[in-house]
Protein backbone atom coordinates (compact mmCIF):
# COMPACT_ATOMS: atom_id res chain seq x y z
CA UNK A 1 0.00 0.00 0.00
CA UNK A 2 1.31 3.42 -0.99
CA UNK A 3 1.16 6.40 1.36
CA UNK A 4 -0.35 8.98 1.49
CA UNK A 5 -3.81 7.54 0.86
CA UNK A 6 -6.21 9.62 -1.22
CA UNK A 7 -9.65 9.83 0.42
CA UNK A 8 -10.83 13.11 -1.06
CA UNK A 9 -12.62 12.01 -4.23
CA UNK A 10 -15.31 14.70 -3.90
CA UNK A 11 -12.59 17.33 -4.32
CA UNK A 12 -11.25 15.73 -7.47
CA UNK A 13 -10.47 12.34 -8.97
CA UNK A 14 -7.40 11.18 -10.86
CA UNK A 15 -7.70 10.77 -14.61
CA UNK A 16 -8.33 7.08 -15.29
CA UNK A 17 -5.23 5.74 -17.11
CA UNK A 18 -7.51 4.32 -19.81
CA UNK A 19 -8.86 7.83 -20.38
CA UNK A 20 -5.39 9.35 -20.54
CA UNK A 21 -4.28 6.83 -23.19
CA UNK A 22 -7.15 7.91 -25.41
CA UNK A 23 -6.38 11.60 -24.88
CA UNK A 24 -2.66 11.64 -25.59
CA UNK A 25 -2.58 11.57 -29.43
CA UNK A 26 -4.93 14.57 -29.50
CA UNK A 27 -2.27 16.77 -27.92
CA UNK A 28 0.40 16.09 -30.50
CA UNK A 29 -0.12 14.45 -33.88
CA UNK A 30 -3.88 15.08 -33.99
CA UNK A 31 -3.81 18.71 -32.93
CA UNK A 32 -6.26 20.20 -35.42
CA UNK A 33 -8.90 22.79 -34.57
CA UNK A 34 -12.32 21.14 -34.82
CA UNK A 35 -13.63 24.37 -36.35
CA UNK A 36 -11.16 24.13 -39.29
CA UNK A 37 -13.53 22.83 -41.93
CA UNK A 38 -11.09 23.25 -44.80
CA UNK A 39 -8.62 20.41 -44.11
CA UNK A 40 -8.22 16.94 -42.68
CA UNK A 41 -6.63 18.14 -39.40
CA UNK A 42 -9.86 19.90 -38.60
CA UNK A 43 -12.06 17.10 -39.87
CA UNK A 44 -10.51 14.44 -37.67
CA UNK A 45 -10.71 16.72 -34.62
CA UNK A 46 -14.33 17.50 -35.45
CA UNK A 47 -15.11 13.78 -35.67
CA UNK A 48 -13.51 13.23 -32.26
CA UNK A 49 -15.48 16.06 -30.71
CA UNK A 50 -18.72 14.68 -32.18
CA UNK A 51 -17.97 11.31 -30.62
CA UNK A 52 -17.27 12.91 -27.23
CA UNK A 53 -20.52 14.86 -27.44
CA UNK A 54 -22.42 11.64 -28.05
CA UNK A 55 -20.63 9.85 -25.19
CA UNK A 56 -21.53 12.62 -22.73
CA UNK A 57 -25.12 12.76 -24.01
CA UNK A 58 -25.52 8.98 -23.65
CA UNK A 59 -24.50 9.10 -20.00
CA UNK A 60 -27.45 11.36 -19.10
CA UNK A 61 -30.02 10.19 -21.65
CA UNK A 62 -29.71 13.34 -23.77
CA UNK A 63 -29.28 14.09 -27.46
CA UNK A 64 -25.77 15.04 -28.59
CA UNK A 65 -27.12 18.37 -29.89
CA UNK A 66 -28.10 19.29 -26.33
CA UNK A 67 -24.54 19.21 -24.99
CA UNK A 68 -22.58 22.48 -24.69
CA UNK A 69 -18.94 22.01 -23.79
CA UNK A 70 -17.51 24.31 -21.12
CA UNK A 71 -14.47 24.58 -18.86
CA UNK A 72 -16.23 22.84 -15.97
CA UNK A 73 -19.23 22.93 -13.67
CA UNK A 74 -18.55 26.45 -12.38
CA UNK A 75 -18.82 27.83 -15.89
CA UNK A 76 -21.83 25.62 -16.68
CA UNK A 77 -23.62 26.89 -13.56
CA UNK A 78 -22.87 30.49 -14.51
CA UNK A 79 -24.13 30.06 -18.08
CA UNK A 80 -27.27 28.24 -16.95
CA UNK A 81 -28.31 30.56 -14.14
CA UNK A 82 -27.27 33.89 -15.63
CA UNK A 83 -28.35 32.77 -19.10
CA UNK A 84 -31.89 31.83 -18.04
CA UNK A 85 -32.30 34.80 -15.71
CA UNK A 86 -31.22 37.33 -18.35
CA UNK A 87 -33.13 35.80 -21.26
CA UNK A 88 -36.41 35.49 -19.38
CA UNK A 89 -36.35 38.58 -17.20
CA UNK A 90 -39.40 40.01 -18.95
CA UNK A 91 -41.37 36.99 -17.77
CA UNK A 92 -40.08 36.94 -14.22
CA UNK A 93 -37.08 37.76 -12.06
CA UNK A 94 -37.32 35.16 -9.33
CA UNK A 95 -34.94 32.24 -8.80
CA UNK A 96 -35.14 29.52 -6.15
CA UNK A 97 -32.09 27.62 -4.92
CA UNK A 98 -30.85 25.97 -1.72
CA UNK A 99 -28.62 27.35 1.04
CA UNK A 100 -26.47 24.21 0.74
CA UNK A 101 -25.59 24.66 -2.95
CA UNK A 102 -22.01 24.96 -4.19
CA UNK A 103 -20.53 28.45 -4.19
CA UNK A 104 -20.61 28.47 -7.99
CA UNK A 105 -24.41 28.56 -7.76
CA UNK A 106 -24.72 30.72 -4.62
CA UNK A 107 -22.29 33.37 -5.77
CA UNK A 108 -23.86 33.55 -9.22
CA UNK A 109 -27.25 34.08 -7.56
CA UNK A 110 -25.80 36.74 -5.24
CA UNK A 111 -24.42 38.52 -8.26
CA UNK A 112 -27.83 38.46 -9.96
CA UNK A 113 -29.42 39.85 -6.80
CA UNK A 114 -27.14 42.87 -7.08
CA UNK A 115 -28.62 43.40 -10.55
CA UNK A 116 -32.17 43.38 -9.23
CA UNK A 117 -33.14 39.72 -9.47
CA UNK A 118 -34.92 38.11 -6.53
CA UNK A 119 -33.45 34.91 -5.15
CA UNK A 120 -34.94 32.61 -2.53
CA UNK A 121 -32.33 30.51 -0.70
CA UNK A 122 -34.40 27.66 0.70
CA UNK A 123 -33.24 25.96 3.89
CA UNK A 124 -32.75 22.20 3.83
CA UNK A 125 -33.97 19.61 6.33
CA UNK A 126 -31.61 18.27 8.98
CA UNK A 127 -30.74 15.35 6.67
CA UNK A 128 -29.72 17.80 3.95
CA UNK A 129 -32.69 17.16 1.66
CA UNK A 130 -35.02 19.78 0.23
CA UNK A 131 -38.53 19.90 1.66
CA UNK A 132 -40.75 19.53 -1.44
CA UNK A 133 -43.68 21.32 0.16
CA UNK A 134 -41.47 24.29 1.04
CA UNK A 135 -40.16 24.32 -2.49
CA UNK A 136 -43.66 24.35 -3.96
CA UNK A 137 -44.69 27.10 -1.54
CA UNK A 138 -41.73 29.26 -2.51
CA UNK A 139 -42.81 29.44 -6.15
CA UNK A 140 -44.36 32.75 -7.23
CA UNK A 141 -45.71 33.91 -10.58
CA UNK A 142 -42.32 35.57 -11.11
CA UNK A 143 -40.30 32.36 -10.67
CA UNK A 144 -38.41 31.43 -13.83
CA UNK A 145 -35.74 29.07 -12.53
CA UNK A 146 -35.19 26.50 -9.81
CA UNK A 147 -31.56 25.48 -9.38
CA UNK A 148 -31.04 22.53 -7.06
CA UNK A 149 -27.94 20.38 -7.00
CA UNK A 150 -28.10 16.67 -7.70
CA UNK A 151 -25.66 15.55 -4.99
CA UNK A 152 -23.95 17.65 -2.37
CA UNK A 153 -20.16 17.98 -2.46
CA UNK A 154 -19.69 17.95 1.31
CA UNK A 155 -22.28 15.53 2.63
CA UNK A 156 -23.11 13.57 -0.53
CA UNK A 157 -26.89 13.76 -0.12
CA UNK A 158 -28.91 13.19 -3.27
CA UNK A 159 -31.85 15.50 -3.91
CA UNK A 160 -35.11 14.09 -5.33
CA UNK A 161 -34.46 15.21 -8.92
CA UNK A 162 -37.48 13.54 -10.52
CA UNK A 163 -39.86 15.10 -8.01
CA UNK A 164 -38.32 18.54 -8.47
CA UNK A 165 -38.42 18.09 -12.25
CA UNK A 166 -42.11 17.16 -12.17
CA UNK A 167 -42.93 20.17 -10.02
CA UNK A 168 -41.00 22.52 -12.32
CA UNK A 169 -42.65 21.14 -15.47
CA UNK A 170 -46.09 21.46 -13.93
CA UNK A 171 -45.45 25.08 -12.89
CA UNK A 172 -43.65 25.94 -16.16
CA UNK A 173 -40.38 26.79 -14.46
CA UNK A 174 -36.94 25.88 -15.79
CA UNK A 175 -35.09 23.27 -13.74
CA UNK A 176 -31.31 23.48 -13.56
CA UNK A 177 -29.26 21.00 -11.56
CA UNK A 178 -25.58 21.23 -10.67
CA UNK A 179 -24.75 17.56 -11.15
CA UNK A 180 -20.97 17.87 -10.75
CA UNK A 181 -20.91 15.25 -7.97
CA UNK A 182 -23.61 13.03 -9.46
CA UNK A 183 -22.77 12.52 -13.12
CA UNK A 184 -21.04 9.21 -13.62
CA UNK A 185 -21.99 8.10 -10.10
CA UNK A 186 -25.78 8.04 -10.28
CA UNK A 187 -28.04 6.99 -13.14
CA UNK A 188 -29.35 10.24 -14.61
CA UNK A 189 -31.97 10.55 -17.31
CA UNK A 190 -32.75 14.15 -18.19
CA UNK A 191 -36.07 13.18 -19.79
CA UNK A 192 -37.36 10.90 -17.05
CA UNK A 193 -36.26 13.49 -14.45
CA UNK A 194 -37.57 16.44 -16.50
CA UNK A 195 -34.28 18.32 -16.16
CA UNK A 196 -33.89 21.37 -18.43
CA UNK A 197 -30.27 22.27 -17.70
CA UNK A 198 -27.57 20.16 -16.08
CA UNK A 199 -23.96 21.02 -15.19
CA UNK A 200 -21.19 18.45 -15.62
CA UNK A 201 -17.57 18.48 -14.44
CA UNK A 202 -15.00 16.19 -16.03
CA UNK A 203 -12.56 15.82 -13.15
CA UNK A 204 -15.16 14.52 -10.70
CA UNK A 205 -15.54 11.27 -12.63
CA UNK A 206 -11.99 10.36 -13.65
CA UNK A 207 -11.78 12.74 -16.59
CA UNK A 208 -9.44 15.70 -16.98
CA UNK A 209 -9.66 19.01 -15.10
CA UNK A 210 -10.60 22.15 -17.00
CA UNK A 211 -13.43 20.62 -18.98
CA UNK A 212 -17.12 20.10 -18.41
CA UNK A 213 -20.46 20.47 -20.11
CA UNK A 214 -23.88 22.00 -19.82
CA UNK A 215 -26.91 20.08 -20.97
CA UNK A 216 -29.49 22.45 -22.48
CA UNK A 217 -32.85 20.91 -23.41
CA UNK A 218 -34.05 21.28 -27.00
CA UNK A 219 -37.58 19.91 -26.72
CA UNK A 220 -39.21 22.04 -25.44
CA UNK A 221 -36.45 24.41 -26.31
CA UNK A 222 -34.66 26.20 -23.48
CA UNK A 223 -33.31 29.58 -24.53
CA UNK A 224 -30.39 31.30 -22.83
CA UNK A 225 -28.52 34.53 -23.12
CA UNK A 226 -24.81 33.90 -23.59
CA UNK A 227 -22.42 35.39 -21.03
CA UNK A 228 -19.31 35.12 -23.22
CA UNK A 229 -18.98 36.23 -26.81
CA UNK A 230 -16.75 35.31 -29.73
CA UNK A 231 -16.77 32.93 -32.64
CA UNK A 232 -20.21 31.53 -31.95
CA UNK A 233 -19.03 28.06 -30.98
CA UNK A 234 -21.42 25.71 -29.19
CA UNK A 235 -24.51 27.27 -30.80
CA UNK A 236 -23.41 30.70 -29.62
CA UNK A 237 -23.81 29.71 -25.98
CA UNK A 238 -20.11 29.25 -25.30
CA UNK A 239 -17.64 30.75 -27.74
CA UNK A 240 -14.03 29.60 -27.68
CA UNK A 241 -11.97 26.99 -29.51
CA UNK A 242 -12.90 23.51 -28.40
CA UNK A 243 -10.10 21.75 -26.48
CA UNK A 244 -10.12 18.45 -28.40
CA UNK A 245 -7.87 16.42 -26.04
CA UNK A 246 -9.90 17.44 -22.99
CA UNK A 247 -13.17 16.70 -24.75
CA UNK A 248 -11.94 13.32 -25.93
CA UNK A 249 -11.02 12.64 -22.29
CA UNK A 250 -14.40 13.83 -21.02
CA UNK A 251 -16.17 11.58 -23.53
CA UNK A 252 -14.04 8.55 -22.70
CA UNK A 253 -14.56 9.13 -18.96
CA UNK A 254 -18.32 9.38 -19.54
CA UNK A 255 -18.41 6.15 -21.51
CA UNK A 256 -16.38 4.32 -18.85
CA UNK A 257 -18.55 5.71 -16.08
CA UNK A 258 -21.65 4.49 -17.88
CA UNK A 259 -20.21 1.01 -18.30
CA UNK A 260 -18.81 0.69 -14.79
CA UNK A 261 -21.30 2.66 -12.71
CA UNK A 262 -23.05 -0.36 -11.23
CA UNK A 263 -19.93 -2.34 -10.38
CA UNK A 264 -18.07 0.78 -9.14
CA UNK A 265 -20.99 1.78 -6.93
CA UNK A 266 -21.34 -1.69 -5.44
CA UNK A 267 -17.67 -1.87 -4.58
CA UNK A 268 -17.34 1.72 -3.35
CA UNK A 269 -20.50 1.41 -1.25
CA UNK A 270 -19.18 -1.75 0.42
CA UNK A 271 -15.91 0.05 1.23
CA UNK A 272 -17.76 3.10 2.52
CA UNK A 273 -19.89 0.96 4.81
CA UNK A 274 -16.84 -0.98 5.99
CA UNK A 275 -15.27 2.33 6.93
CA UNK A 276 -18.40 3.80 8.53
CA UNK A 277 -19.11 0.72 10.63
CA UNK A 278 -15.43 0.19 11.45
CA UNK A 279 -15.13 3.71 12.83
CA UNK A 280 -18.53 3.71 14.56
CA UNK A 281 -17.80 0.40 16.29
CA UNK A 282 -14.65 1.69 17.90
CA UNK A 283 -15.53 5.27 18.80
CA UNK A 284 -18.41 6.93 20.62
CA UNK A 285 -19.79 10.47 20.34
CA UNK A 286 -19.90 10.57 16.55
CA UNK A 287 -22.46 12.21 14.29
CA UNK A 288 -23.02 11.27 10.68
CA UNK A 289 -23.76 14.45 8.74
CA UNK A 290 -26.36 14.14 5.98
CA UNK A 291 -28.86 11.44 5.11
CA UNK A 292 -27.47 7.91 5.15
CA UNK A 293 -29.81 6.44 2.53
CA UNK A 294 -30.05 9.22 -0.07
CA UNK A 295 -26.31 9.53 -0.36
CA UNK A 296 -23.44 9.05 -2.83
CA UNK A 297 -21.82 5.65 -2.37
CA UNK A 298 -18.38 7.19 -1.85
CA UNK A 299 -19.18 9.90 0.67
CA UNK A 300 -18.85 9.80 4.43
CA UNK A 301 -19.01 12.93 6.58
CA UNK A 302 -18.58 12.46 10.31
CA UNK A 303 -18.29 14.85 13.22
CA UNK A 304 -15.88 13.55 15.86
CA UNK A 305 -17.12 15.36 18.97
CA UNK A 306 -14.53 17.12 21.14
CA UNK A 307 -11.79 16.85 18.49
CA UNK A 308 -11.09 19.80 16.19
CA UNK A 309 -11.00 18.89 12.51
CA UNK A 310 -7.73 20.47 11.50
CA UNK A 311 -5.79 18.89 14.35
CA UNK A 312 -7.36 15.56 13.42
CA UNK A 313 -6.20 15.97 9.83
CA UNK A 314 -2.69 16.71 11.12
CA UNK A 315 -2.83 13.53 13.16
CA UNK A 316 -3.78 11.43 10.14
CA UNK A 317 -1.34 13.09 7.80
CA UNK A 318 -0.94 9.95 5.68
CA UNK A 319 -4.60 10.18 4.76
CA UNK A 320 -5.85 12.96 2.48
CA UNK A 321 -9.33 14.08 3.56
CA UNK A 322 -11.01 17.44 4.08
CA UNK A 323 -12.70 19.09 7.02
CA UNK A 324 -15.61 21.42 7.66
CA UNK A 325 -13.50 23.08 10.30
CA UNK A 326 -12.99 26.81 9.98
CA UNK A 327 -9.28 26.41 10.47
CA UNK A 328 -8.90 24.84 7.06
CA UNK A 329 -10.38 27.82 5.28
CA UNK A 330 -9.31 31.42 4.98
CA UNK A 331 -12.70 32.65 6.21
CA UNK A 332 -12.44 31.17 9.74
CA UNK A 333 -16.11 30.20 9.40
CA UNK A 334 -17.01 26.54 9.70
CA UNK A 335 -18.78 24.84 6.79
CA UNK A 336 -21.99 26.62 5.73
CA UNK A 337 -23.30 23.33 4.36
CA UNK A 338 -23.09 21.67 7.78
CA UNK A 339 -24.53 24.79 9.41
CA UNK A 340 -27.46 24.58 6.99
CA UNK A 341 -28.33 21.14 8.41
CA UNK A 342 -28.56 22.71 11.84
CA UNK A 343 -25.21 21.22 12.90
CA UNK A 344 -23.91 23.56 15.59
CA UNK A 345 -20.66 25.40 15.07
CA UNK A 346 -18.74 23.24 17.51
CA UNK A 347 -19.75 20.04 15.72
CA UNK A 348 -19.01 21.61 12.34
CA UNK A 349 -15.47 22.25 13.56
CA UNK A 350 -15.07 18.54 14.30
CA UNK A 351 -16.19 17.20 10.92
CA UNK A 352 -14.18 15.20 8.43
CA UNK A 353 -15.23 14.32 4.88
CA UNK A 354 -13.99 10.99 3.53
CA UNK A 355 -14.38 10.62 -0.23
CA UNK A 356 -13.91 7.12 -1.58
CA UNK A 357 -13.53 6.44 -5.26
CA UNK A 358 -12.84 4.02 -8.09
CA UNK A 359 -9.27 3.44 -6.95
CA UNK A 360 -9.87 3.07 -3.19
CA UNK A 361 -8.98 -0.34 -1.76
CA UNK A 362 -10.00 -2.39 1.24
CA UNK A 363 -6.45 -2.24 2.57
CA UNK A 364 -6.58 1.55 2.46
CA UNK A 365 -9.93 1.64 4.23
CA UNK A 366 -8.62 -0.59 7.01
CA UNK A 367 -5.57 1.64 7.40
CA UNK A 368 -7.78 4.74 7.59
CA UNK A 369 -10.03 3.16 10.24
CA UNK A 370 -7.04 2.21 12.38
CA UNK A 371 -5.39 5.61 11.96
CA UNK A 372 -8.48 7.68 12.66
CA UNK A 373 -9.50 5.69 15.75
CA UNK A 374 -6.05 6.06 17.25
CA UNK A 375 -5.87 9.77 16.45
CA UNK A 376 -9.31 10.56 17.84
CA UNK A 377 -8.56 8.70 21.07
CA UNK A 378 -5.26 10.55 21.46
CA UNK A 379 -6.76 13.96 20.76
CA UNK A 380 -9.67 13.33 23.09
CA UNK A 381 -7.20 12.60 25.86
CA UNK A 382 -5.84 16.05 25.12
CA UNK A 383 -9.24 17.75 24.85
CA UNK A 384 -10.61 19.77 27.76
CA UNK A 385 -14.10 19.37 26.27
CA UNK A 386 -13.82 15.58 26.32
CA UNK A 387 -12.65 15.77 29.94
CA UNK A 388 -15.64 17.91 30.84
CA UNK A 389 -18.01 15.57 29.01
CA UNK A 390 -16.56 12.63 30.97
CA UNK A 391 -17.20 14.57 34.18
CA UNK A 392 -20.81 14.98 33.12
CA UNK A 393 -20.55 18.71 32.40
CA UNK A 394 -22.79 19.92 29.57
CA UNK A 395 -20.55 22.22 27.58
CA UNK A 396 -23.55 23.78 25.84
CA UNK A 397 -24.59 25.29 29.16
CA UNK A 398 -21.31 27.07 29.76
CA UNK A 399 -21.07 30.71 28.80
CA UNK A 400 -18.00 30.80 26.62
CA UNK A 401 -16.26 34.00 25.77
CA UNK A 402 -16.32 34.36 22.03
CA UNK A 403 -13.11 35.71 20.56
Amino acid sequence: MKLPIYMDNQATTPVDPRVLDIMLPWFTEKFGNPASSSHSFGWEADTAVKKARQQVADLIGADAKEIVFTSGATESNNIAIQGIARFHQERGNHIITLVSEHKAVLDTCRHLESEGFDVTYLPVQSNGLVDMQQLADAITDKTVLISIMAANNEIGVIQPLAEIGALCRERKIYFHTDAAQAVGKLPIDVNAMKIDLLSISGHKFYGPKGVGALYVRRRPRVRLKAIMFGGGHERGIRSGTLPTPLLVGLGAAAELAGQEMDSDNKRIFALRERMRLGIMEQLTHLELNGDLEQRLAGNLNISFSYVEGESLMMAIKDVAVSSGSACTSASLEPSYVLRSLGVNEEMAHTSIRFGLGRFSTEEEVDFVIKTIVKAVNNLREMSPLWEMAQEGINIDEIEWEAH
Binding site: P384, L385, E387
Partner: protein, 125 residues
Protein backbone atom coordinates in the same frame (compact mmCIF):
# COMPACT_ATOMS: atom_id res chain seq x y z
CA UNK B 1 -1.35 24.54 4.84
CA UNK B 2 2.18 23.41 5.60
CA UNK B 3 3.26 23.55 9.22
CA UNK B 4 6.38 24.91 10.79
CA UNK B 5 8.70 22.27 12.31
CA UNK B 6 8.30 23.65 15.83
CA UNK B 7 4.51 23.48 15.57
CA UNK B 8 4.79 19.93 14.31
CA UNK B 9 7.17 18.98 17.10
CA UNK B 10 4.85 20.30 19.82
CA UNK B 11 1.85 18.80 18.06
CA UNK B 12 3.42 15.38 17.70
CA UNK B 13 5.12 15.38 21.11
CA UNK B 14 2.99 17.65 23.24
CA UNK B 15 4.61 18.56 26.57
CA UNK B 16 2.72 18.45 29.86
CA UNK B 17 -0.66 17.17 28.71
CA UNK B 18 -2.97 16.48 31.63
CA UNK B 19 -4.88 17.94 34.53
CA UNK B 20 -4.38 18.86 38.18
CA UNK B 21 -7.15 18.82 40.73
CA UNK B 22 -8.70 22.24 40.20
CA UNK B 23 -9.92 22.25 43.80
CA UNK B 24 -6.32 22.25 45.11
CA UNK B 25 -5.44 25.57 46.73
CA UNK B 26 -2.02 25.71 45.08
CA UNK B 27 -3.48 25.09 41.59
CA UNK B 28 -4.67 27.85 39.26
CA UNK B 29 -6.85 27.01 36.27
CA UNK B 30 -7.39 29.06 33.13
CA UNK B 31 -9.92 28.06 30.49
CA UNK B 32 -10.19 30.27 27.43
CA UNK B 33 -11.72 30.16 23.96
CA UNK B 34 -15.05 28.72 22.88
CA UNK B 35 -16.05 25.43 21.22
CA UNK B 36 -18.03 27.33 18.59
CA UNK B 37 -14.85 29.15 17.55
CA UNK B 38 -12.97 25.88 17.23
CA UNK B 39 -10.54 26.32 20.09
CA UNK B 40 -10.64 25.89 23.85
CA UNK B 41 -7.49 25.87 26.00
CA UNK B 42 -7.26 24.75 29.58
CA UNK B 43 -4.02 25.70 31.29
CA UNK B 44 -3.23 24.78 34.89
CA UNK B 45 -0.35 25.89 37.08
CA UNK B 46 0.89 24.48 40.35
CA UNK B 47 2.57 27.11 42.51
CA UNK B 48 5.06 26.35 45.25
CA UNK B 49 5.32 28.08 48.65
CA UNK B 50 8.07 30.24 47.17
CA UNK B 51 5.59 31.68 44.63
CA UNK B 52 7.28 29.90 41.74
CA UNK B 53 5.31 27.89 39.18
CA UNK B 54 6.77 24.43 39.67
CA UNK B 55 4.48 22.51 37.33
CA UNK B 56 2.02 23.18 34.52
CA UNK B 57 -0.42 21.10 32.51
CA UNK B 58 -2.70 21.75 29.55
CA UNK B 59 -5.53 20.30 27.54
CA UNK B 60 -6.54 21.90 24.26
CA UNK B 61 -9.35 21.46 21.76
CA UNK B 62 -8.16 23.20 18.64
CA UNK B 63 -5.98 23.19 15.59
CA UNK B 64 -2.31 22.17 15.56
CA UNK B 65 -1.18 25.72 16.23
CA UNK B 66 -3.45 26.00 19.27
CA UNK B 67 -2.11 22.74 20.66
CA UNK B 68 1.48 23.81 19.97
CA UNK B 69 0.95 27.25 21.57
CA UNK B 70 -0.41 25.75 24.77
CA UNK B 71 2.26 23.05 24.89
CA UNK B 72 4.97 25.68 24.44
CA UNK B 73 3.74 27.95 27.23
CA UNK B 74 3.58 25.09 29.73
CA UNK B 75 7.31 24.71 29.15
CA UNK B 76 7.98 28.43 29.35
CA UNK B 77 6.14 29.13 32.59
CA UNK B 78 7.65 26.31 34.60
CA UNK B 79 10.24 27.73 37.01
CA UNK B 80 8.95 31.28 36.56
CA UNK B 81 7.46 33.46 39.28
CA UNK B 82 3.88 34.62 38.73
CA UNK B 83 5.07 38.09 37.73
CA UNK B 84 7.57 36.68 35.26
CA UNK B 85 4.91 34.44 33.74
CA UNK B 86 2.58 37.40 33.33
CA UNK B 87 5.19 39.06 31.15
CA UNK B 88 4.92 36.42 28.41
CA UNK B 89 3.48 38.09 25.34
CA UNK B 90 1.51 36.45 22.56
CA UNK B 91 3.94 37.95 20.04
CA UNK B 92 6.78 35.91 21.58
CA UNK B 93 4.73 32.72 21.27
CA UNK B 94 3.78 33.53 17.68
CA UNK B 95 7.39 34.29 16.83
CA UNK B 96 8.77 31.13 18.45
CA UNK B 97 6.29 28.97 16.51
CA UNK B 98 6.41 31.13 13.35
CA UNK B 99 2.61 31.27 13.29
CA UNK B 100 1.04 32.65 10.11
CA UNK B 101 -1.37 35.62 10.50
CA UNK B 102 -4.53 33.44 10.54
CA UNK B 103 -3.11 31.55 13.52
CA UNK B 104 -2.08 34.52 15.67
CA UNK B 105 -5.28 34.12 17.71
CA UNK B 106 -3.88 30.81 18.99
CA UNK B 107 -1.00 32.65 20.63
CA UNK B 108 -3.40 35.25 22.03
CA UNK B 109 -5.42 32.45 23.62
CA UNK B 110 -2.28 30.98 25.17
CA UNK B 111 -1.33 34.34 26.71
CA UNK B 112 -4.89 34.76 28.02
CA UNK B 113 -4.80 31.26 29.47
CA UNK B 114 -1.68 32.08 31.52
CA UNK B 115 -3.27 35.29 32.84
CA UNK B 116 -6.50 33.50 33.75
CA UNK B 117 -4.70 30.64 35.49
CA UNK B 118 -2.65 33.08 37.57
CA UNK B 119 -5.68 35.16 38.44
CA UNK B 120 -7.55 32.00 39.49
CA UNK B 121 -4.62 31.01 41.71
CA UNK B 122 -4.43 34.46 43.31
CA UNK B 123 -8.16 34.41 44.09
CA UNK B 124 -7.65 31.23 46.09
CA UNK B 125 -4.93 32.69 48.31
Amino acid sequence: MAYNDKVLDHYENPRNVGSFDKGDSNVGTGMVGAPACGDVMKLQIKVGDDGVINDAKFKTFGCGSAIASSSLVTEWIKGKSLDEALEIKNSEIAEELALPPVKIHCSVLAEDAIKQAISDYKKKQ
